[in-house]
Symmetry: C2
Subunit: 350 residues, 2 copies
């Protein structure tokens, strides 16, 4: 039972009929053709994903997966590992950026502990810890193949729970000191980019520190030799528990036709992993924003995604996904609630 | 009394103390320094405008100024002039794009008739009509200097009304078939750009039609010889009543320290006019988005503004301003509601 093939579901195709109907309706609405730009494409995508022109998007969630990274001992982050644990407590205390953004977007946030190095996991957090942080992947695999599988499976099952609860718009987020390092390693492997092209300042490294981080990743790739044709191998060797869970959650969300909002660089590494396993999930993905982290652009290009927002954010936590949720909802409301040329008594719209 | 000097108020300086306090607070919050990107700059700007770190922004309005354009008889638009009148009725009937966007952003919309060619102005619209549309500026001035002054003054006084009513976040919008032609002419004059650099498809012209539109504007500039050193001359010769009102409204809003959201190309032509008259208003302006209309970029560059959103919208009506309002509010909530490193028990944030 515990095989990848068993986990990977049939992903539905986007509903082309609903997409056409949405496109047609846009052109009947009281505005110059195409003048709502990306909002038009977005509502068409949502129609394709859900099979409906006017799906409910009211039950929103940010699924925020947290985990620690052994590679932090190589000095790849500006912050100590303990900050991951502090931050999950801050999420529960409603003091983090994502809490405020979520409140503004009227979405809930669910925090899932995938492997934070702490004994003290607040009761409000869903505890699915695989282990208290990955191993230092500069000197060996981050985790076993079995653990990588479990991280995927945990994310997948969480998406099934959300689906069962009626969640109809899902953003993913991450917390984990050191996880831009893992994301750079994954992105380099799965997009066949050089480490230098996808490694950046994370929480705020200097140029010198970025160079060190790149060397750590280069070394990790030499030591572990992850196989780009085997996404689970990549995830186990240079990934993270929260990144595996993000990948699994995206696969599970797509299986249930839930529109999926990516956040920043770490979630895009999860999406690369997911799409390498199950390419059919791509039409279900929406890139909420582009972060300042340069590997993010590489990952989104590889996924064929154009980000909605560019506000130079690089916080993670699902922050960009939360900020873009109202944009998604607004696009659907425009499609459905605007008057047609006919209703407005204007002839010859085109 | 009826002179420009009398209309132009003292514009306050942005509060540099409040700006510094905001910047300092951002750096104390539980996130990597600068990781909220443009949202940080935005809340700093709002602090400078209002003099407060946590101003109320709850009383929001989109001021949507409408007017007709005589130059439409030259075939510069895809739509007949009568669409302006149809659209203001659609605004009242809640069927236009801006109505839906405003509802999502929880802002009201106020429509001001500055000169629509109709006998039938709905009672819900504030009727400040100067005349039923400008004259065809390809063959002579769009309006008299006195009318240009009145359009400015009307917008200015409307901002004073909004201020008296407690409005604390103001977006401007436009409706007027033909008004990208006027905006291109204004932008060419006030930014000293060529007509070709600032003339684009408006409601959806073909390349050939854009070329014709450019020729009409070239001819208008030859015939009228607007003086770029005299913004009122430019407005009267190649402007529009709604564009003058937008300019006046921005000046009035800045005078009362109200954060001002521009929308698309037409509102940027209004902002160019306003800033040419009163350069001190610039720190009060926020560019909500960049439209597909190429003159918009030229205008924003001239104003030194970087747009928040780029969703390839080109609808006008205040649509981009409405979409960006929640982003502005969110930036202020983040600044004020996030926990500090100290509160989160994390030492050595920097």
């Amino acid at each position: 039972m515990n095989t990848l093939e068993h986990l990977i579901p049939d992903i539905p195709c986007p509903d082309t009929e609903a997409r056409s109907q949405a496109r047609e309706r846009w052109d009947s609405l009281v505005k110059p053709r195409g003048s709502l730009g990306r909002l038009e494409d977005l509502a068409v995508q949502i129609a394709g994903i859900t099979g409906e022109l006017d799906p409910s998007l009211e039950r929103k969630t940010i699924a925020l997966f947290a985990g620690d990274h052994g590679v932090v001992e190589q000095g790849v982050s500006k912050y100590p590992k303990s900050v991951t644990a502090s931050m999950i407590r801050t999420f529960v205390a409603n003091g983090a950026g994502i809490n405020i953004l979520a409140e503004q977007a009227q979405t809930e946030v669910r925090v899932i502990n995938m492997g934070v190095d702490t004994e003290d996991v607040p009761a409000e957090i869903l505890d699915r810890s695989i282990r208290k942080g990955t191993d230092n992947f500069m000197i060996g695999p981050a985790m076993t193949r079995q653990e990588a599988f479990r991280s995927l499976e945990t994310g997948y099952k969480f998406a099934e729970i959300l689906y069962a609860q009626g969640i109809n718009l899902l953003g993913v987020g991450d917390m984990g000191i050191g996880n831009t390092t893992a994301s750079s390693a994954i992105t380099a492997c799965l997009t066949e980019s050089s480490v230098g092209q996808v490694t950046d300042k994370g929480t705020g490294l200097s140029a010198e520190q970025i160079s060190h981080k790149s060397q750590v990743i280069e070394q990790a790739l030499r030591v572990n030799r992850p196989d780009p044709q085997d996404p689970l191998d990549v995830l186990s060797k240079v990934g993270g528990f929260e990144i595996g869970a993000i990948a699994g959650c995206l696969i599970g969300g797509a299986a249930h036709r839930i529109p999926l909002l990516l956040d920043g660089f770490i979630t895009s590494a999860g999406a690369l992993t997911a799409a390498a396993l199950v390419p059919e999930i791509r039409p279900f993905l929406i890139a909420a924003h582009i972060s300042g982290e340069k590997g993010h652009r590489v990952a989104l290009n590889h996924l064929g995604l154009t980000p909605l927002l560019d506000l130079e954010m690089r916080l993670g936590e699902g922050s960009g996904a939360a900020l873009a949720m109202p944009v998604v909802e607004t696009s659907v409301r425009l499609l459905n609630d605007m008057a047609t040329f006919k209703e407005a008594g204007i002839s010859g719209g085109e």
